[in-house]
């Protein structure tokens, strides 16, 4: 509706007060097509302030010199300096490789364990509801708590896991799991998977509830066994949910250094150094916010590329 037509629909002002009465003018404005933009304005401002500004600032930071321990020259535009340094930085490449290992194996284990747990819980077996809550418990724990708990349980002197493994004969002596470059990453991945597999369980369970039981009955009659039903009905029907869960978990794993910060701090050596941890250390140990910003931008771009490729490959947008 055009402004002119909307205004024409209103009766003309009857007095001077009527002509400047703000309520009347507001009422008039609400009849025009600009009204919706006015209604959107508060949320647009809010999103700009809390999402857009920090993102843009992060990008800007990556092109800026910003070292808090060397104030001289801070804020100067340095172009692609940080990115050039990154290309020649062996720790960056090592962190990238470690990130790939960390994310891939964590997701793989979380998905498989989460799927098995969801399928088991979906069978409505006796005690299933209690088990469902118990299975979700790890996910309720904050990373910091889960990390410290496992650090203690895997401790090389007092860890209960070492005790159990020695007692059942799998280990000769207590082992410092996070001090050995050969086991540090695998152990950290185990802890991460333990902590986050319930996320997959929860989402997959919700997805399973949405699959019509008639499909399984039809498949039974058609002669499809349990594995064929999983492969040809359950997994394809869960495609959208699995894609969303994987993307969310990958973003979480790539961006959050907290668990590794508690368990290994990137060590021993740099065997568990991942990008997020490297960026974090650059910012808060070396106070080099410019380089940390550039690392963050690279992570951002990689995640965008991953999400795009994954959605395309898993054909979520089809059907």
């Amino acid at each position: 509706m055009s402004r002119g037509r909307a205004m024409a629909a209103l009766p003309p002002p009857r007095s001077t007060w009527d002509a400047i009465n703000p309520l009347r003018l507001l009422g008039e404005l609400s009849e025009t097509r600009y009204w919706m933009y006015l209604l959107l304005l508060p949320s647009a401002l809010l999103i700009t302030a809390i999402v857009l500004f920090p993102t843009v600032y992060g990008f800007q930071l990556s092109f800026t010199e910003m070292r808090l321990n060397r104030p001289a020259g801070n804020g100067a535009f340095v172009g692609l300096k940080h990115y050039q340094r990154m290309l020649a930085d062996p720790i960056f490449w090592l962190s990238l490789r470690n990130t790939a290992v960390w994310v891939t194996f964590s997701i793989l284990i979380e998905f498989v364990v989460g799927l098995v747990a969801a399928l088991a819980l979906n069978r409505n077996l006796w005690g299933g509801k209690v088990l469902a809550v118990l299975i979700l418990v790890p996910y309720f724990l904050p990373n910091v708590v889960a990390g410290n708990m496992w650090a203690l349980m895997l401790d090389s002197r007092v860890g209960v896991i070492n005790d159990i493994l020695v007692n059942i004969g799998l280990l000769q002596e207590y082992k410092a799991w996070f001090a050995d470059p050969n086991t540090a990453m695998a152990t950290a991945i185990f802890v991460e998977a333990w902590h986050s597999f319930p996320f997959f369980t929860l989402l997959i369970m919700a997805g399973l509830k949405g699959i019509p039981t008639d499909l399984y009955k039809a498949a039974d009659i058609d002669g499809a066994g349990a594995f064929a039903q999983l492969r040809l009905i359950t997994l394809p029907m869960l495609r959208t949910i699995i894609a969303a869960a994987v993307i969310l978990r990958v973003i979480g794993l790539v961006n959050s250094p907290d668990l590794l910060l508690i368990l290994t701090q990137g060590g021993p050596g740099r065997s568990t150094q991942v990008l997020s941890l490297y960026a974090f250390q650059n910012a808060y140990s070396d106070f080099n916010f410019g380089y940390a910003g550039a690392l963050s931008v690279v992570m951002f771009v990689l995640l965008m590329l991953f999400a795009w490729a994954y959605i395309r490959l898993s054909k979520v947008n089809q059907d």
Binding site: K217, D220, L232
Partner: protein, 358 residues
């Protein structure tokens, strides 16, 4: 093709008995319709026949083989579901051929079978589409294609037309009948729609509360219902019930009701034991005609409902409402006095205490 024997089948969920001693025999090539209201146990019985649900007792025989402990896939049956249950991520071609694929049938042979089924159902042009891209009627055809492609001993249909609109339902009903005439496969068909039951079935089992009320051919079910439930469930508009005393009149038996008496000319039932007692006369709306005849009723017109080919006239006879299916040109007005002749040979008398046909 095969016969189907259901012998003493029971099913209970805890203390709730949903099927009570069901006995049915279906001849080779027969078409059994399980008919009844929601919750009567008809779909449970079908699931037991399919092997998707265990029974609590009794035997299911397909041919002469007891299949109680046989997995659904080994019963050589095919089933069409109300929801169609097409695999949403597979194209139609794979949906139809899925049963053959799972049975490791050679790809060439499978493709030929799918093609034959598709031609029979005229869905060749849909083979590469996904179920989400099909209309309700097309999905229905694909579901039927999936059933016929394997040449099973037994077709099971679970309310297959319930999700279609009225016009398509009639079309698909004809299609199913044609398919059965052509393939001659023994069929069990579950529905709550009496028109489907009467048009399709060679045998109809009317069920209520897990018990078979009547098992007979459609004509018998319609003309000679075993009890007042069957009489009231079958037919649209439903059968009229007129309560009165059964007495000897001048020319034979008469039904003395609140507004007069109705001579029961040509009654086939042996009702001697009920003379002098109250009975319920079941009168089909189409056996009432406008005008006076050998036997008649007089009533006050309550409501007139023209439907096109017929005019349904609801008449109050001594306070009891009866529906008459009259010709399209008959248009009495509410409040008019209307004389109706009754084809009394078509009347069924019921015992008001048991509800059973006398």
């Amino acid at each position: 093709m095969a016969t189907l024997s259901i012998k003493g089948v029971r099913k209970s969920f805890g203390a709730v008995e949903v099927l009570n001693n069901i006995d049915i025999e279906v001849e080779d090539g027969g078409f059994l319709v399980l008919l009844g209201p929601s919750g009567c146990g008809k779909s449970t019985l079908l699931a037991i026949i399919a092997g998707l649900e265990p029974s609590s007792g009794g035997d299911i025989l397909i041919g002469d083989k007891n299949v109680n402990d046989v997995h659904p896939k080994d019963r050589n049956i095919a089933m069409v579901f109300q929801s169609y249950a097409l695999y949403p991520t597979m194209p139609v071609r794979r949906n139809i051929g899925f049963g053959l694929e799972m049975r490791k049938v050679d790809a060439k042979e499978r493709e030929a079978a799918v093609q034959r089924a598709a031609e029979l159902l005229q869905i060749e042009h849909l083979l590469d589409r996904k179920p989400g891209q099909l209309s309700g009627g097309q999905r229905q055809r694909v579901a039927m294609g999936r059933a016929i492609v394997r040449n099973p001993d037994l077709f099971l249909f679970d309310e297959p037309l319930s999700n279609l609109d009225a016009k398509l339902r009639v079309e698909m009903r004809t299609e199913i009948k044609r398919l059965h005439d052509r393939l001659g496969t023994t069929t069990v068909y579950v529905t709550h729609d009496q028109v489907e039951a009467l048009t399709l079935g060679t045998k109809v089992a009317v069920m209520k509360g897990g018990v078979i009320q009547q098992l007979a051919d459609p004509e018998t079910i319609y003309d000679r219902p075993a009890n007042m439930f069957v009489a009231g469930f079958i037919g649209s508009p439903t059968m009229n019930f007129l309560t009165g005393m059964l007495e000897h009149g001048d020319g034979g038996l008469v039904l003395r009701h609140a507004a007069g008496s109705l001579a029961l000319v040509g009654l086939e039932q042996d009702v001697a034991a009920f003379v002098g007692r109250e009975v319920v006369a079941g009168i089909r709306p189409e056996t009432l005609n406008a005008g006076q005849g050998a036997a008649g009723l007089q009533g006050i017109v309550d409501v007139v409902e023209p439907t096109g080919p017929d005019t349904m006239v609801i008449v109050s006879v001594g306070g009891q409402l009866l529906t008459a299916r009259l010709g399209p040109k008959v248009r009495p007005k509410p409040g008019d006095t209307l004389n109706l002749s009754v084809d009394t040979a078509a009347i069924n008398l019921f015992d008001p205490v048991t509800g059973n046909r006398i």
